[in-house]
């Protein structure tokens, strides 16, 4: 940052970055071997699932231990629709809306409760979801699950199936990420942040924490449904095991490891969720649990803010150097009377108990 870029340069940077990314994402599936494409697609699936969790937990501060249920629900809806030869667009819409509606109903009830109570209600989703899926075996195939293969490369594209599927994952997942990013950087994101920080404050400025908690939860369920659709596209099979409580916990861990309240963190969380089991298998398949636990602890010990915080010190360094160059606002009584002790308040809060 030796020189301040001119507005002209900046606008060039502004559209060149995304364009480059799109080009790279368009080309990579063509050059990578099949196994790499499959891994990236799988990362995409879980990055979307983690993104949904991040929306309700990272951004809005509501502990949800049930996100995997919505992935499972979306996957079941997709599998059922595909195996009944419904139009795939209809299937996709249903795979989004049905989890969203279920999420809305759960949230309407659960968001009345605070803190740990909402966590417990969300625990119930996967815990009850597994036996419920078995009981509804006419729709779910019971414990044997449902297979549904779709998204094979259309004739004439000249693409392999794995390439075509990866394009679908990148397109759908990319759209979800873009929409979510705009949401959390806009007005709603600011409201979510206020609700997360202090519900009483939110109420006092005329924001209904209840309404926004329900909104965040519903959107998270919808995004979970999308990830379920992608899950079926990539894995092509679902069973009650898909939505077991253990996986929900791992998803939560992936979110925190990626970086709570971070778009980039959601992608990193998805990558962590997919890659770490594979890597531990490479090291020693009989020690995977030990290695996964140790990896999680080491990562968080080094980076308590998650992997996304690796990217942040860079940014912070630049921003603060910028600040230092700028004029320091004089601390004068007239400028600051009435407000809290600016320099000291954050510290007080950090010292206080959560």
């Amino acid at each position: 940052m030796a020189s301040v870029p001119s507005p002209r340069q900046r606008s060039w940077v502004r559209w060149a970055g995304p364009l480059l990314l799109v080009v790279v994402l368009a080309v990579l599936p063509l050059v990578f071997p099949e196994s790499v494409n499959e891994i990236i697609a799988r990362i995409g699936v879980f990055a979307v699932a983690v993104l949904g969790l991040n929306l309700v937990m990272g951004y809005t501060g509501q502990v949800s231990l049930g996100q995997i249920f919505f992935l499972g629900l979306g996957a079941y809806v997709t599998a059922y629709g595909v195996s009944n030869d419904w139009n795939i667009v209809v299937v996709f819409v249903l795979a989004c809306t049905i989890p969203a509606v279920v999420g809305l109903l759960v949230a309407l009830a659960a968001a009345r409760l605070g803190g740990l109570a909402i966590a417990m209600v969300t625990v119930a989703l996967p815990i009850v979801g597994v036996p419920l899926a078995k009981r509804l075996s006419d729709y779910t195939g019971g414990s044997q699950g449902l297979s549904a293969r779709f998204g094979d490369a259309p004739e004439g594209t000249g693409l392999y199936d794995d390439q075509w599927r990866l394009y679908l994952v990148l397109a759908i997942g990319g759209a979800v990420f873009l929409l979510t990013r705009n949401l959390v950087r806009g007005k709603y994101g600011r409201v979510f942040a206020i609700v997360k920080k202090n519900e009483n404050v939110a109420s006092s400025v005329g924001i209904s924490p209840y309404r926004y908690k329900v909104l965040a939860f519903t959107l998270a369920s919808l995004i979970g449904g999308v990830s379920g659709f992608l899950y079926m596209l990539v894995i092509q099979y679902t069973s009650p095991e898909t939505m077991s409580f253990g996986h929900s916990i791992q998803l939560l861990a992936a979110m925190v490891i990626g970086g709570a309240g971070s778009i980039l963190g959601s992608i990193l969380g998805g990558a962590y969720y997919v890659l770490v089991p594979q890597l531990t298998n490479l090291v020693d398949p009989s020690l995977t649990a030990l290695l996964q636990g140790a990896t999680l602890l080491v990562v968080l010990f080094v980076l308590p803010g998650g992997l996304a915080s690796l990217a942040r010190p860079l940014g912070r360094g630049r921003r603060s150097s910028h600040d230092r160059r700028g004029p320091t606002p004089p601390i004068t009584p007239s400028a600051t009377t009435g407000s809290g002790t600016a320099a000291e308040t954050p510290e007080t809060e950090r010292q206080g108990h959560p």
């Binding site: 603060s320 601390i331 004068t332 009584p333 600051t336 009377t337 407000s339 809290g340 002790t341 600016a342 320099a343 000291e344 510290e347 007080t348 010292q351 206080g352």
Partner: protein, 236 residues
């Protein structure tokens, strides 16, 4: 006889230097005020004393440099900190809060009589003795915070913004009680206060901080008379 002596104390929050050299002297049984605008380093000075921020310079209490000591050891030396925002234990009852304050003491009888003394000092707490601290009003919480601090039988009380967020009449009641405490117990005090007039009802002398430095020190009487100072730093 000086009880507490701060010499050229510095402190940082991360890369930001908050104290650039603060000095302060509190005699035995004395009460010293720290005045100044927001961000001047008042609270940080108290934290430097109670060892909750790392400080440079010299902080001598009762003849010993206490820098680098752990906060609970500082408390054990006889320094009780009533933090800004009161810091009561929300999920504990009033009586339990007081018992926590007496954690370092072993004299059961003394503790019991001191609890009675606190309730006499702050009669409002008498009726709320079994309530959770979080259920108290702001004024009651402030009283509880002070009461909890004096349960440790300190030699020095650090009082941070005891009037913050209180109605004027409540703030006055709190200060009246603290003044009575000072008279009856002789505990030395360092008092950080936005409301200078309120502070002057309690302290013998005061220092004015600006951006982490002493800019003016004097007795209450001297400072009270300085109109300019009052307008500039004491909120008129």
């Amino acid at each position: 006889m000086t009880l507490l002596e701060l010499e050229d104390v510095t402190a940082f929050y991360g890369p930001v230097q908050v104290l650039e050299g603060v000095s302060l002297s509190v005699p035995e049984n004395g009460a010293v005020g720290i005045l100044g605008a927001n961000g001047a380093g008042k609270t940080t000075t108290l934290r430097a004393i109670s060892a909750t921020v790392r400080a440079g310079g010299r902080i001598v209490f009762d003849g010993k440099d206490i820098r680098g000591t752990r906060p609970d050891r500082v408390a054990a030396l006889g320094i009780a900190h009533v933090p800004e925002g009161r810091g009561t234990f929300g999920d504990l009852s009033v009586r339990e809060n007081l018992r926590v304050g007496a954690y370092l003491r072993k004299d059961r009888k003394g503790i019991a009589s001191d609890i009675d003394y606190c309730l006499d000092l702050f009669p409002n707490l008498q009726d709320r003795i079994t309530s959770n601290a979080s259920a108290l009003s702001g004024g009651e919480q402030q009283m509880l915070a002070v009461a909890r601090a004096i349960m440790s039988k300190p030699r020095l009380l650090l009082l941070d913004e005891a009037s913050l967020g209180l109605a004027p009449s409540t703030a006055k009641a709190v200060y009246d009680a603290i003044r009575r405490l000072r008279v009856e117990s002789g505990i030395a005090m360092v008092v950080v206060e936005q409301n200078a007039n309120l502070a002057f009802t309690l302290v013998d002398s005061a220092t004015v901080l600006e951006t982490g430095r002493n800019v003016l020190t004097g007795t209450s009487a001297e400072l009270r008379g300085m109109d300019e100072i009052r307008r500039a730093y004491l909120g008129g």
